[in-house]
């Protein structure tokens, strides 16, 4: 049981990273001046880490995940920072949308807690991730307009993609 939970997570991580870094990174959704959509689905890895996982450990894992992504995006530290951020916030998001009888299952999937719950959870996580990500990327609030636009449009597109994936695979763990 425990082994399968971990192995599932590792396999999912590799799979999502592959899609993110090999496919989505190459997709360039630019329409003239409109360059605000960047597909970012890998935060789902952080979202789906087991509930009982040690909080500091989640943060450390997220950091290295982000660092790994950074190597591909040539933006050392930007993704790592954003990942660390959402990994830290994950606990509070979960507490905020806790089901009536708490978290009985360790796997935080739509299979266990329902699609509406997962949609809320994923939205919060993804939005926070993208906001921090683009803030770090711009690194100055002079570009606040750009940051907000990127966050909003990327959020819509990425969330759509994540939900499609989750509904297709409907992971149990």
């Amino acid at each position: 049981m425990m082994n399968s939970l971990w192995s599932r997570n590792i396999i999912r991580t590799l799979f999502v990273l592959f899609i993110q870094l090999v496919l989505l990174k190459r997709i360039n959704l630019t329409f003239g001046d409109f360059n605000y959509v960047h597909l970012t689905i890998y935060p789902v890895i952080i979202a789906l880490l087991p509930y009982k996982m040690n909080r500091p450990l989640v943060i450390v894992a997220a950091f290295f995940l982000g660092l790994f992504v950074d190597f591909f995006y040539d933006s050392l530290g930007v993704h790592a920072g954003a990942c660390t951020f959402v990994a830290f916030l994950r606990y509070y998001f979960l507490a905020f949308i806790s089901p009536r009888d708490g978290y009985k299952k360790d796997a935080l999937t739509s299979f266990e807690y329902g699609v509406p719950w997962f949609l809320t959870y994923m939205s919060m996580l993804l939005f926070a991730h993208l906001l921090v990500l683009y803030s770090y990327e711009a690194f100055s609030f002079v570009y606040i307009k750009e940051i907000v636009l990127r966050t909003i449009f990327s959020f819509i597109a990425s969330l759509f993609l994540v939900m499609v994936g989750v509904l297709i695979f409907n992971p149990k763990y």
Partner: protein, 278 residues
């Protein structure tokens, strides 16, 4: 100890978060050009502000030094003006080129800060923050950039007391500029901006607005240091002399700096004056 461990455990997530967030930011700034530039610029703005503040503080503390140096500069300039005026009066036939510096230097000025002063009393004194160590001696005249202040009365090593013009005991030799009549300037009123010029014979022609300057007959002051302007004049019944009311050019209560006049040939002149008395 147990509490500390508990605290560490309790906030381990936060600590780890902050640690890795810091590492991320460090990486961002060190390895990304645009972010690095923003960081460097922002920090420049930041450090620029701090440095500006520090400079202001430093300026505040070095202001005294700056003032002193300006004071010295002023003293030099005034000195030159006074000496040149004295010389050109005596040697109007000589051209400036033929002068050597030593023959010009009759008076030298010692700059000073005012330590304290009294203004409203009947006998007003002023204390300068320089004394005999700086070359001040009893009887020397004290002026400001605008005009006469008084005469040095007492000297200690580091301080000197000046008998101000507006002191009942003060008596300064003055003349009317351009007319040559001279008299003694005394303080009879209680108004710190007004004095009386006495001993001017009544045959002199005086107008309101005439400029009163030092006469240069005493060893204390060089000639033509401005004092004030004639505001009124009367002749008391039975007297041969005018009582001339003089408005001072500047407010004595506002002075912060002063120059002590040192007459380099004062000993010579004093001996001469004394021998005249005898």
């Amino acid at each position: 100890m147990r509490n500390l461990l508990y605290l560490l455990f309790r906030y381990s997530a936060l600590i780890v978060f902050l640690l890795f967030q810091f590492i991320s930011l460090y990486l961002i700034v060190s390895f990304n050009k645009s972010q690095n530039e923003i960081w460097v610029n922002s920090s420049n703005i930041f450090s620029g502000k701090i440095q500006e503040r520090a400079q202001k503080v430093e300026d505040f503390f070095t202001q005294q030094q700056l003032n002193d140096s300006l004071l010295r500069e002023n003293a030099k300039l005034l000195e030159t003006i006074i000496n040149f005026r004295v010389f050109s009066e005596k040697n109007s036939f000589q051209t400036f080129e033929s002068l050597d510096a030593d023959s010009l230097r009759n008076y030298s000025l010692i700059p000073a800060r005012v330590c304290s002063k009294t203004i409203n009393l009947r006998n007003n004194f002023l204390t300068l923050c320089i004394g005999s160590e700086d070359g001040v001696d009893i009887g020397m005249g004290v002026i400001s950039k605008d005009g006469v202040i008084g005469i040095v009365k007492r000297v200690s090593k580091k301080y000197s007391t000046v008998l101000m013009m507006t002191n009942g005991q003060s008596r300064i030799s003055a003349m009317i500029l351009g007319k040559g009549n001279h008299g003694n300037l005394i303080w009879t009123s209680n108004d710190t901006r007004s004095m009386t010029l006495v001993d001017v014979p009544k045959h002199a022609i005086i107008e309101v607005g005439d400029t009163i300057v030092t006469s240069g007959y005493s060893i204390s002051f060089p000639p033509q240091i401005p004092i004030g302007k004639v505001s009124d004049f009367t002749i008391k019944g039975g007297s041969n002399n005018y009582d001339i009311a003089v408005d001072l050019d500047f407010d004595l209560s506002t002075i912060k700096t002063a120059y002590v006049i040192k007459f380099d040939k004062s000993e010579e002149k004093e001996i001469l004056l004394n021998s005249d008395d005898e």
